[in-house]
Symmetry: C2
Subunit: 497 residues, 2 copies
């Protein structure tokens, strides 16, 4: 195109020097493998110093900085101060460990930079379909079920409960909203259910008052009689019970609800069964606990993570929905610029459903790749062995605690969670709470190990939630030894001299 | 612990051979850089063959497969069939391009495998805080605003609208749900607003009937008189207008609503102003369009992506909320196992808010790292030049279309979107629709370029949405030349012989 003014030169964000960036990339890759290989030699956690925090209070960069310098800052200020969950003695909250090949997969996925939200006849949607098919098979779901990879189990719970709400309402919730309901829509879960369920209920406009927290039995499972009585009472009060949320592994103690009993109740009551299986769902792979999860495969929807007990790096979760058309009905929305399914040719001419029709994300990254590579790298049998190993290791830990007069188990150990506390004669409950909090802080600050803390039946306790493929029995020996050492030291300091 | 039976040997998912995995990683890294460097030499898109699709219908892997073999399958079956958005002639829908260093950042983030949902005194939360501070500054938001990195703008819109709902309802929506409302809560957006807004409204339980689609003017901006009249009518009908959603760059045409006028109306009406700035928000960096976005900085909440116009790899979006306490109030929920903010020491003893208190995700990956490295690598001035370059390039394209008698512009070009169609004398509107659909399919199947299609005022048109840092003016020359060539060829075939 001729022009009086010469057109401006064009630039790109591609590297100005590919070979120097290549050299930097190779350094990064070596460093990351060394970092993973040597993780056991470092403390479980290091408190980031104040002068390092200050490095993240910088003015907006106006001009380019050489990548080598940026990486140097990463090496000095970011890498040495991780949250720590790849360490063999990290068992806090429920965090995942990750693997080297899956980290490489993230490099591959980000280089392709595939948007897996939809479109036809490209590889990413087939990879995602493949891994979801595998998950269905591993978890006992029918091949006809639908599935969606998500950012994690919070999003998966949100999607499962949205489908439940829309399908069981008896009117068009997507169009009319909750104001269209003639009866208040109620759902049920145990007092031990994960907080993401309440957050989902709130986001869905149902109100946390609609979520009935049902008491638990001594094993921290939902009390079935109380559940049935609550549903009956709600019906008598004119409400619409529409969903029960079962726990396949609670966060606090790892308890597994009686899922077959829940499925029976849901069938009888015509309510949706959603199972939150964040980490616990994968217990089905372990011969030692599989039978406790019986009934999970009868759920209408099942939410779970891959970045916890399947050891994949963040973020990856999944939701399965038994009836594909119900799942799609709750989420599909196709404006003019997303029309698809025509003809067979071109990027919108396929017959595979688009994943964006099964959730609230439209643009979606290629998280399926790390799942596909990981499942092939290890095979389901190795995953099964690792999960059983984690279960055996927490039983080993429970044995150590039982054998230690200074320590007390605070809840039954059914899956991969151990809650316990240090005992000091002469201290009242308030004193024991304070002491155990201090023990936890010292375990962190001294870089020994990372359990977390929680409240069990009103008492503050230490909590080990184990989804770590790097831990050895030795690591639990160290934990027990150090809890006792620190407990004794702290107790000396607080007791009257 | 002594035991009668020897304890079983322990295994890990760490590589059995670190050095062979290292060699593979270096190969991957070289391959990915070569892949990026040579993207221009490949077709813009390739239809995945049926026999390759069949490779993703395999039985569940039971036993390990060597990583080298898995990578070979990736090279043969995944990498050659991308959706294609890194290609210099990919302008379909609104997809992003990504960069090499940001892909490396994903490797670093996945190796650290940081969960950035919360916890104190580790680096990832400081990195995220830093990049959100920079975004606030770039987009004119006050330093006191809160922000959260999200999977993308769909999630960011959902969060912004959830805060609007909860703050403007006048009662405790989180507890009581929508049933607590005495009046129907209504919100407003133009007919051109992105579908993720309706999906969010549906998910939030408001019902799509509560979303008033206001007509647009000739420039595809929301009609302000119609908006005011609709709000007034809704008040007269006893409803509660609570939110206006402004578009900073519509998907169909790139139109920008008059955001200052919307802010004035919202102020007067006491309703929330949420702005969907998915890609368009970043127009503020470009001198040529900055003034059109005036008023965006007055929004109560602003949603935008980084994986479109800031060229970062998937997934990364962000929501900013003007008043931090309103944002936190809508999402914070702290069960016993997440108690924090005590004392200053340990992993729960900090004073920084936890990011999980600002959205629905609890576990969160370290997506901040790629943003931090990218902003430092390029600096805001280079981003500004690239965004202006994209705008200049679509104006160049519009000029080419204007100069071609076979082509017709279908909407004003205000930002980075060009809608146009091929004209064939003698064809009626139905025939032109069919012809332009065919042209699009051929552009894809022949691997020439990837625009997408949409409907503008009832007519099917080709649509270029340009957020690609690799495109040159030459690429648009090719597009125009090939559309005309294909159009002529197809028209010959369909016209009576």
């Amino acid at each position: 195109m001729a022009s009086k003014n010469p057109l401006p030169a064009e630039e790109t964000l591609d590297p100005q020097n590919w070979e120097s960036l290549r050299a930097l990339g190779h350094r990064m890759l070596d460093d990351m493998l060394d970092y993973l290989k040597t993780v056991r030699e470092r403390p479980a956690w290091r408190h980031i110093p104040e002068q390092v925090k200050a490095q993240f209070n910088q003015p907006l960069p106006l001009d380019p900085q050489p990548p080598e310098e940026i990486y140097q800052e990463f090496l000095e200020n970011v890498l040495p101060y991780p949250v720590g969950n790849i360490h063999p003695r990290f068992w806090g909250w429920v965090f995942g460990t990750g693997t080297a090949l899956a980290a490489f997969a993230e490099l591959l996925a980000a280089s392709m930079n595939t948007n897996a939200g939809g479109l036809d006849h490209h590889s990413a949607v087939h990879v995602e379909k493949q891994v979801i098919d595998w998950f269905k098979q591993m978890l006992g779901f029918p091949a006809s079920a639908s599935g969606l990879l998500t950012s994690g189990c919070s999003a998966a719970n949100l999607i499962g409960l949205a489908v439940a709400r829309d399908i069981k309402a008896g009117f068009d919730v997507r169009r009319d909203g909750i104001p269209g309901a003639s009866r208040k829509m109620m759902l049920y879960a145990s007092q031990e259910i994960h907080s993401s369920v309440q957050k989902a209920v709130e986001l869905l406009g149902l109100g946390s008052d609609a979520l009935r927290y049902v008491p638990v039995n001594d094993d921290f499972q939902i009390d079935l009689q109380a559940l049935k009585a609550t549903i009956t009472q709600d019906r008598q009060d004119g409400h619409l019970p529409f969903c029960v949320v079962g726990a396949a592994g609670t966060t606090n103690t790892g308890a597994i609800d009686d899922l077959n009993a829940l499925a029976d109740i849901c069938q009888r009551e015509n309510v949706w069964l959603h199972v939150d299986g964040a980490f616990g769902a994968w217990g089905v792979l372990a011969p030692g606990v599989r039978s406790q999860l019986a009934g999970m495969e009868r759920a209408d929807s099942l939410a779970f993570d891959l970045h916890k007990w399947m050891y994949m790096p963040y973020e990856i979760g999944c939701v399965l929905v038994r009836h594909e058309e119900e799942h799609r009905k709750a989420f599909s929305l196709t404006p003019a610029y997303l029309t698809h399914g025509e003809g067979g040719r071109g990027m919108t001419g396929g017959d595979l459903p688009w994943f964006c029709d099964y959730g609230f994300q439209l643009s979606r990254g290629f998280r399926a790749l790390k799942a596909w590579m990981s499942l092939k790298e290890h095979g389901s049998r190795r995953y099964a062995r690792l999960i059983q190993q984690n279960i055996d290791q927490v039983r080993y830990l429970a044995g150590l605690i039982d054998a230690s007069p200074q320590l007390e188990l605070s809840a039954p150990v059914t899956l991969n969670v151990v809650c316990f506390r240090y005992l000091e004669p002469g201290l009242d409950e308030g004193g024991l709470d304070a002491l155990n909090k201090q023990i936890l802080t010292e375990l962190h600050e001294q870089g020994i190990a990372v359990p977390s803390g929680t409240i069990i039946r009103g008492k503050y306790v230490l909590r080990v939630a184990h989804t770590n493929h790097r831990s050895r029995r030795d690591d639990f020996d160290i934990l027990v030894r150090e809890v006792i050492r620190i407990g004794k030291e702290l107790a000396l300091a607080i007791e009257p001299a």
